[in-house]
């Protein structure tokens, strides 16, 4: 089970509202490579994982991603404080505003609502870990693009932190893949799926 901690993983203190920037950053909440899809991807995939290291890693990264959902939400919240209807119209935030006011709703920057079609749970260790590594790189690219658009240091600072975490997660998933392959037939990693087929792995699994 989970227990909430009343603190952000990394501080967010944005002095100047910027609804246009909020709309761009929204994609990292509810977009195709956002933090919400990251968290749900890992927390769903972990159940059939045969190795303790991978079960632990997916649990812990999936949990950290929930903290990233909160950081992104805090950024959007602070970027949309005390804005006038004129600013909303001029910034292009009006399309979001009309449905959600300044509430935090998971959607992409283009307004597509969050969907679980953004992630997979294939039930195959190698397949799922490759998806996870790709997802971390896609999120890293999205943060790079946000950094290309953002000039406010108050916004760039937490975004840079989140970008770095994508790289660390990618690294750990790569190690999880290596641990998995070390337990499989070196001549053919795909001979069987240790998340489903019995007796196909060198290490005894549950």
């Amino acid at each position: 089970m989970w227990q909430y901690q009343k603190k952000l993983e990394y501080p967010v203190n944005i002095k100047n509202p910027n609804p246009k920037m909020a709309k761009a950053i929204l994609s990292q909440l509810g977009g195709p490579d956002g933090e919400l899809s990251a968290s749900l991807r890992y927390l769903n995939q972990r159940f059939v994982m045969p190795y303790a290291e991978v079960k632990g890693l997916l649990t812990d990264i999936g949990t950290e991603e929930l903290a990233h959902v909160e950081i992104i939400s805090a950024i959007i919240y602070q970027l949309t404080r005390n804005i006038s209807p004129e600013e909303i119209k001029a910034s292009g935030f009006d399309a979001y505003f009309v449905d959600h006011t300044t509430g935090i709703y998971p959607a992409s920057s283009a307004g597509v609502p969050f969907t679980s079609a953004y992630f997979q749970c294939k039930g195959d260790v190698i397949t799922d870990l490759h998806e996870d590594m790709a997802a971390e790189q896609k999120a890293r690219t999205t943060y790079d693009n946000i950094l290309r658009l953002a000039d406010d240091p108050d916004v760039r600072d937490p975004i840079k932190f989140l970008r770095e975490r994508e790289i660390v997660h990618y690294q750990r998933f790569g190690e999880a893949l290596r641990i998995t392959q070390d337990n499989l037939n070196a001549k053919n990693f795909y001979a069987c799926n240790p998340a489903f087929d019995p007796n196909c792995t060198r290490r005894r699994t549950r």
Binding site: A52, K55, G56, R206
Partner: protein, 83 residues
Amino acid sequence: MMDERKFLRNRIKQYAFTLKDLNLYLDTHPDCLRALAMFKKTRELYEKAVAEYNQKFGPITPNQSNDDNHWSWIDDPWPWERS
């Protein structure tokens, strides 16, 4: 051995659920002295039970991992597995 583990874990679950339910009640009754006292008493029992579990059987949160030679946090079984 296994029975003691299960017994202790069940006790932790009972205390934790009591704390969770009191937590929700206190969210909407933040000045209820009776509920505050129950929370405090249950938290003491919970913390004692968790400390005993950590020492005998290992961590239930990563920060409770307390082994110099091995990161016991990842050890099987995980909660969704039959034990």
